[in-house]
């Protein structure tokens, strides 16, 4: 079975500073990787995903994540955060032919002015 570990439960960061959210996964088979964002009192929204091909994937709002197979990681980064990026971020993994998403414990990003 696959598992996901998000190493930081909370990351405080100042506005316009960079942020990195760490995600490591464990699986014996090929996986797909996802980052979801949950704004306060809302459902989860897909931020970006890695299926295959280029190991660097980007979202439309400036986030990027890099798949590193040797380190079994899929860290999320943004070079300059905004107040509006304050949210809970979830890393998730699915086996390539499966239908179940397994989530990490989440990382709360608090952007301070």
């Amino acid at each position: 079975a696959q598992s996901v570990t998000q190493l930081d439960s909370q990351v405080p960061v100042f506005e316009e500073a960079p942020v990195e959210l760490r995600c490591n996964y464990s699986s014996s088979v090929s996986v797909y990787l996802f980052w979801y964002v949950q704004y306060p009192n809302q459902g989860l929204q897909l931020l970006l995903k890695y299926l295959s091909g280029s190991t660097l994937v980007e979202s439309i709002n400036g986030f990027e994540a890099e798949f590193n197979k040797s380190q079994t990681s899929f860290h999320l980064r943004k070079p300059s955060v905004h107040i509006s990026d304050t949210a809970e971020y979830f890393c998730a993994v699915s086996v390539a032919a499966g239908n179940k998403l397994t989530f990490g414990g989440g990382t709360r990003v608090l952007v301070k002015p």
Binding site: Q42, K49, L51, S94, V95, G98, N99, K100, F103, G106
Partner: protein, 115 residues
């Protein structure tokens, strides 16, 4: 609007009661899910249905019973509610069984509080 919609958004009830949460998606997806998010934000899958057929049933008390009248609906019925059932319940759907390639579309959640 195309979406996954859940009702009610908030549900406060007493221990021992029976309650239902409804979920509908108009995305044409074949697979629907129920996830439970606890107070620490941890998300755990409960059930998954594909075209009205149960395909995932995680270790969930049998007080929880999902029902899928058609592929656009997946309801969750909970009997004999307990304090530990308090959580946010999310419905989600995906385009096909191999949801790994597409990810999920989530509803906005139902916050259940058992008192």
């Amino acid at each position: 609007d195309t979406a996954v919609s859940q009702t009610p958004k908030y549900l406060v009830t007493q221990m021992g009661n029976d309650k239902s949460i409804k979920c509908e998606q108009n995305l044409g997806h074949d697979t629907m899910y129920w996830y439970k998010q606890d107070s620490k934000k941890f998300l755990k899958i409960m059930f998954s249905y594909n075209n009205k057929e149960l395909i995932i049933n995680e270790t969930v008390p049998n007080r929880f019973s999902p029902k899928s009248p058609d592929k656009a609906h997946l309801n969750l019925h909970i009997n004999s509610l307990e304090l530990g059932d308090s959580a946010v319940y999310f419905c989600a759907s995906s385009q096909e069984v191999a949801a790994g390639s597409y990810g999920y579309t989530f509803g906005s959640g139902t916050r259940l509080t058992v008192v």
